[in-house]
């Protein structure tokens, strides 16, 4: 054991040796150096070339997204490949996908915070940012997929000349409230965490413009301990509130399907299954972002191998939950003795969309298994690759659920297939563009690591512990 400890390279803190507590911040950083490391990213005149390149690409895809949406709104939903019976396709697939991505952020922040998982501090900030941006992408799709966008506000319970009110029995309305709430709360949670760090940047600011901009955002935070007192309490409460919220959001999203009557949708397993899937996909996305970020922005000491490894373990665990759900769905379809249900699942695995189904199974169930090996868990390249696979797999999961069911429901006379048009494909790519554009802007202008929190878990400079 001791030998092993000695042999382990110094930058590796992924030990599970209970005898020795691995540090969460490496290379003997102190408060100043952490601040310096994090703030430099925001303060340097010229961003890294990688950032500029990535931003250019992302921004141009965002532009494409804009054009696609414009085309859609001016011409009609018919520009998509949807039909009767498949009247949801890429649109809702993307919606559920992005909402799922949006789970890891708040989950890491809230649940890990409640469980006092200190390693969260390294990653929670940009995990939360990821949540916000993912949810923005998610909200885009239900926003544009309706036939008459200009009347969409009717979904909100606003007093109107028709004296009509929305129908609260509709899962879509639950969605509206769930995702809306989730977005608002996540935003508040994120911003609240940002305030002290923005204050730091404000105080380091060298130009008037920055001082004013960050000054406004910092809301006059001055690290007063009387403030910290209420701040911490409020933060704890938010975490406590956000935790059930995270779980509720994807449950409600799954109600869109679970409360319908279609074979393959009408299933009680959906809420837990969707939540597990969301955490799975969300963590995969965090990994996908964390690996290159720590590389490009030199924050390897703060987002340490241990962080990555912990997330890999979560991906492995949730991945197997998802795999279990796939299996049990088949069992139930058979066990229920409902022939229509049975056919839908046989059709999923062997019908016209079998390719999508098996892609999903491979990506979500097979690939994460490599994380059983520590070598894989500590190799950024492997981690990144698996993360990408999982994201693909999770997208296909939603596609399979939506399209295979709709294309083969009760009456064979109305069976049909669904093929997306170029508009839908470009819109999907565009949504990634939007996501990365926002994320890159965040990296450039806001502290990507929660400095205050990291400092709080660093050993005190003079070694002596508080009473």
């Amino acid at each position: 054991m001791a030998v092993a400890t000695l042999e382990r390279p110094s930058r590796d803190n992924t030990s599970s040796d209970p005898a020795r507590r691995a540090p969460l911040v490496l290379a003997g950083n102190d408060y100043a150096s952490v601040t310096e490391k994090v703030c430099r990213i925001v303060e340097v005149r010229k961003p890294p070339r990688a950032w500029t390149l990535a931003f250019t690409i992302a921004a141009s895809f965002t532009g494409i997204l804009g054009l696609m949406v414009l085309y859609l709104i001016t011409t009609g939903v018919g520009v998509w490949g949807l039909n009767k019976p498949v009247s949801w396709g890429f649109d809702i697939t993307n919606f559920v996908f992005w909402v799922g991505i949006g789970h890891a952020g708040t989950l890491i922040s809230a649940i890990l915070y409640l469980f006092r998982q200190q390693w969260r501090t390294g990653i929670n900030r940009f995990a939360e940012a990821m949540t916000i941006f993912a949810v923005i992408c998610a909200l885009l799709f239900p926003g544009i997929h309706v036939g008459r966008i200009w009347f969409e506000y009717w979904i909100a319970p606003l007093p109107n000349q028709m004296s009509m009110w929305p129908n609260f029995r509709s899962p879509l309305l639950w969605d509206f409230f769930a995702v809306g709430t989730y977005f608002t709360v996540s935003l508040v949670f994120w911003y609240m965490g940002l305030i002290p760090d923005i204050a730091t940047i404000r105080d380091r600011a060298t130009t008037k413009a920055r001082r004013i901009a960050y000054g406004l955002l910092a809301m006059g935070w001055r690290g007063s301990n009387r403030h910290w007192h209420r701040y911490e309490r409020a933060y704890l409460l938010l975490a406590a509130l956000a935790t059930p919220l995270v779980l509720s959001v994807h449950s409600v999203v799954s109600f869109d399907f679970a409360t319908s009557m279609l074979p393959g949708w009408h299933a009680t397993i959906f809420p837990p299954y969707f939540v597990a899937g969301a955490i799975f996909g969300g963590f995969a996305m965090v990994l996908m972002l964390a690996v290159p970020c720590r590389q490009w922005f030199g924050v390897k000491d703060v987002i340490t191998p241990r962080h990555l490894e912990n997330m890999c373990k979560i991906v492995l665990a949730t991945g197997m939950m998802v795999g279990y759900a796939y299996a049990i769905e088949f069992f139930i379809a058979w066990y229920s003795g409902n022939p229509v249900e049975g056919f839908v699942f046989i059709n999923r695995a062997f019908g016209p969309y079998a390719w999508a189904y098996w892609t999903m199974v491979f990506c979500n169930v097979a690939t994460p298994q490599v994380f059983w090996s520590r070598r894989a868990r500590s190799n950024p390249w492997v981690i990144f690759a698996v993360a990408v696979f999982v994201n693909i797999g999770m997208w296909f999961e939603r596609f399979v659920i939506i399209v295979t069911t709709l294309s083969r429901d009760f009456l064979p006379s109305s069976w049909n297939s669904y093929t997306p048009t170029w508009v839908e494909v470009l819109t999907l790519m565009g949504s990634f563009g939007l996501f990365f554009t926002l994320f890159l802007l965040f990296l450039r202008f806001l502290p990507m690591i929660a400095m205050a929190e990291v400092k709080a878990i660093m050993p005190a400079p003079h070694g002596e512990a508080h009473r």
């Binding site: 408060y31 100043a32 601040t35 319970p157 004296s163 009509m164 009110w165 929305p166 129908n167 609260f168 029995r169 309305l173 639950w174 409230f177 769930a178 809306g180 709430t181 608002t184 709360v185 508040v188 949670f189 609240m192 002290p196 730091t200 404000r202 105080d203 380091r204 000054g215 809301m219 006059g220 001055r222 690290g223 007063s224 301990n225 009387r226 403030h227 910290w228 007192h229 209420r230 701040y231 309490r233 409020a234 409460l237 938010l238 509130l241 956000a242 059930p244 919220l245 509720s248 409600v252 109600f255 400095m451 400092k455 709080a456 400079p461 003079h462 002596e464 512990a465 508080h466 009473r467």
Partner: protein, 176 residues
């Protein structure tokens, strides 16, 4: 005129012990400024627990009740419609929205109440004027005693702070 004194301490531990003694010294209008929440400092300063949680609880209850009430009124009273042959008012269908509204109101209250109680946003403050104070959000640990404190006496207090182990003490000009 002088707003007060700003004393810097080497680290969290020093700050905490200083705070305790300052508290025992009977000072009331003073505060500590740290780059991150320091454990034990609240007790050391003798801060009473905030009533924030009760506010949040109240907000949550309002959200839940309001949500249920809204749905009942809109779907069963204001404009009842036969939907899928279901009853005009049915609790199961109302639960998701009621739940979300509970969370929403509670969360917004938690944040809002915290800001209000902290008197934020506040963009002008004498402390912002002092150069040293800029490091308060990076790696410096301060105690600020206001001139408005009844026990405040420029020389005496300054001496006291130094006695507490302040690495340095500066005067902060301006009026709150």
């Amino acid at each position: 005129m002088t707003w007060g004194l700003l004393a810097e301490f080497a680290g969290p531990a020093e700050l905490v012990s200083a705070a305790e003694r300052l508290r025992d010294g009977g000072y009331t209008r003073w505060d500590a400024h740290t780059p991150f929440p320091v454990h034990g400092l609240d007790a050391a300063m003798g801060i009473r627990p905030t009533r924030l949680p009760w506010l949040v609880l109240g907000a949550g209850i309002c959200g839940c009740g309001g949500g249920l009430l809204m749905q009942w009124w809109m779907n069963a009273v204001a404009y009842p419609l036969i939907v899928s042959g279901k009853p005009f008012n049915s609790l199961p269908a109302s639960i998701p929205v009621a739940f979300e509204l509970t969370i929403l109101l509670a969360s917004l209250t938690a944040f809002g109440a915290m800001m209000v109680a902290n008197g934020l946003p506040r963009f002008r403050h004498p402390l912002f004027a002092s150069r040293e104070f800029l490091r308060a959000t990076t790696d410096a640990f301060f105690i600020a005693v206001e001139a408005a404190d009844p026990k405040f006496d420029l020389e005496a207090t300054e001496a006291a702070l130094r006695a507490l182990g302040a690495s340095r003490v500066v005067r902060v000009e301006g009026d709150a």
